[in-house]
Structure formats: C-alpha cells, structure tokens
Amino acid sequence: MARQSGTSAGGVRLLVVGRAFETARVADDRADLDDVTLARARQGDRQAFRVLVERYQRPVFALLGRMLLRAGRESIVEDLAQETFVRVFRSLPTFGADGRHNISAWILTIAARLAIDELRREPRRAESLDGASFGIAAETGADELSERRRIGIAIERAVGELAPEYRAAFLLREVHDMDYESIAEALRVDIGTVKSRLSRARAALRRALQGTYDER
C-alpha cells in the first residue's frame, strides 16, 4: 500500500496510508498560556500556576513518556514531570530575565534535560512493549487497528534505539515543533549539532521503519 502525502488541515498534516487515520496530536496545543495568567503565576498566584500546570502537563508527559519509553517507567515519568513543574515554579519569577519569551520551550527544555539525565543514569535495558497501551478508537476496524499498532510499535522501537540526545532532538522537533534555536539551547549544543543529530535520527528511523512499510 503506497504512502501518499496528505493534505494539511488546521496546521496538522495528514498522511494517508491506505485509509485516513484520525490524527492524535495530543502533545501540543498551539496556543500558549495567556499573558495575564502567566504574569500572575510569576507573581506567585498559585491558582494561576495551577492553570499553567494544567496547560502544559500533557506535552510534558508526552515528551517524558516517549523519552523514557514508558514501559516499566510510569512512576519515573510522573516523578520527572512533577520535578519539571517544581523547577518551573521556583524559577518562574525570574523567567524572561535572560530574554526568554517562549514559556512552552522553556518548560520542555527542563523536562528534556531531566529525561536525558535519567537515561544517562540508568543502564539501557530491553524495552518491553505493551500493545494494549496503543489506544485505538473503538470504531476502527481490525485492519486499521493492526496497521496503526504496527506503526506505533515500530516507531517506538526505532526511537528507543536512538541515543538520548538524538532522541530528545527528534522528539522536540517532530512532536513538539520546537525551532532549532530552542532545541540547541535545550540540549546545550550549537545549531549545527542539532541539525546533524536530527538528520542522523531521521535516517536511522527511516531505516528502522522501512521494513514496516515494505511489508504491505
């Protein structure tokens, strides 16, 4: 079954593989926190900070979960997500003093660094994939279910083979839509290194996924 580039809808591209899959971009809501709430949160308003947490908790969980590959690490994902927001809380009064303006990129930077440190701390181990965790809408048929699950398992395995820094660069760019400058700052490297890592990560993933599409 040939891959075809799809049409864009609302800024999200759809790829038609046999049939159209419903997009599930749960990681990113495009609208950032409004300035008033952010200002109140910076002044210590806890209710405003709660709004901040509820706004950015999904992308933080998504990044940490995919960085740590979830299986057997659910509690670590939650711990690191909590640590991320605790650090945000402590540093929020001074946010922007160094010229930063992108609160989303800043929060994801903290989360990415925590995930990389955690991966460096733990020895790499074989990841067991739980097929039931691939949430599929009830109305999809068996063929779509297996196809989507197969792709999901394949991409998870392929990303799991990447080194932490390459994994972070790829996820920050392709899932969370961060620009090169923000990724460079998050990973503490220059933009050239970011581009190099992204190129290598994509090439590695294409090779790993090639078999998934060739089987059809």
Partner: protein, 102 residues
C-alpha cells in the same frame, strides 16, 4: 518557520500512531503540594510581627527606665559616705524618750 519545507513528510502521522502517556488524575494538585506553601509576598504577615515586637519592646524599655529611676538613686545613696557623722549621732540621740519622772 523557515525550515518548514525541509521537514520530511510523514513524521506527523507516524508519530500519531505512537500514543503518548496522559497526565495522571490529580497531577496538578500533587505539583502544588510539592511546591510548598504560598509564596512569601504577603504584607500582612510582615506587619503583625513588627507590631508585636514594638509593643513588647516598649514594655521592656519602660520597665528598664522605671528600674533605672528607682534603683540607681538607691545605689548611689548607699555608696555615698555619710557627710556629717554628728548628724548620725544626733539622729541617735534626738529621740524623745520622755522624762524619767512623769
């Protein structure tokens, strides 16, 4: 974004097939609890200790002044040598003990 056109097609939906974990229930509550108490920018908290301190301090100062007013003259008086020994004697002999013959 300037590099939008260079992004390879297909990553969006490939990644869409890889579900992301969702935040657990009550996560925001746990974050707030982990962040500790309310941040310290509360004028009322600063004011009340200052008031108490000034009241207590005032009492202590007044007590110290009163003690100084009372006890310093006494201490000075005790240390002063008697200026006229005769006056002591006269004190001793000035009592009217009455006559022997009433």
């Amino acid at each position: 974004m300037s590099d939008e056109r260079k992004r390879p097609d297909g990553w969006a939906t490939v990644l869409d097939a890889w579900p992301a974990p969702e935040p657990t229930a009550g996560f925001a509550d746990r974050v707030l609890a982990a962040c500790g108490g309310p941040p310290a920018v509360k004028l009322s908290v600063v004011r009340e200790p200052a008031r108490r301190r000034s009241t207590l301090g005032g009492v202590l100062v007044c007590a110290a002044i009163a003690a100084a007013v009372v006890f310093i003259p006494i201490a000075v008086h005790r240390r002063r040598p008697p200026s006229n020994p005769a006056s002591v004697a006269s004190i001793n002999t000035s009592f009217d003990l009455g006559s022997e013959h009433d």
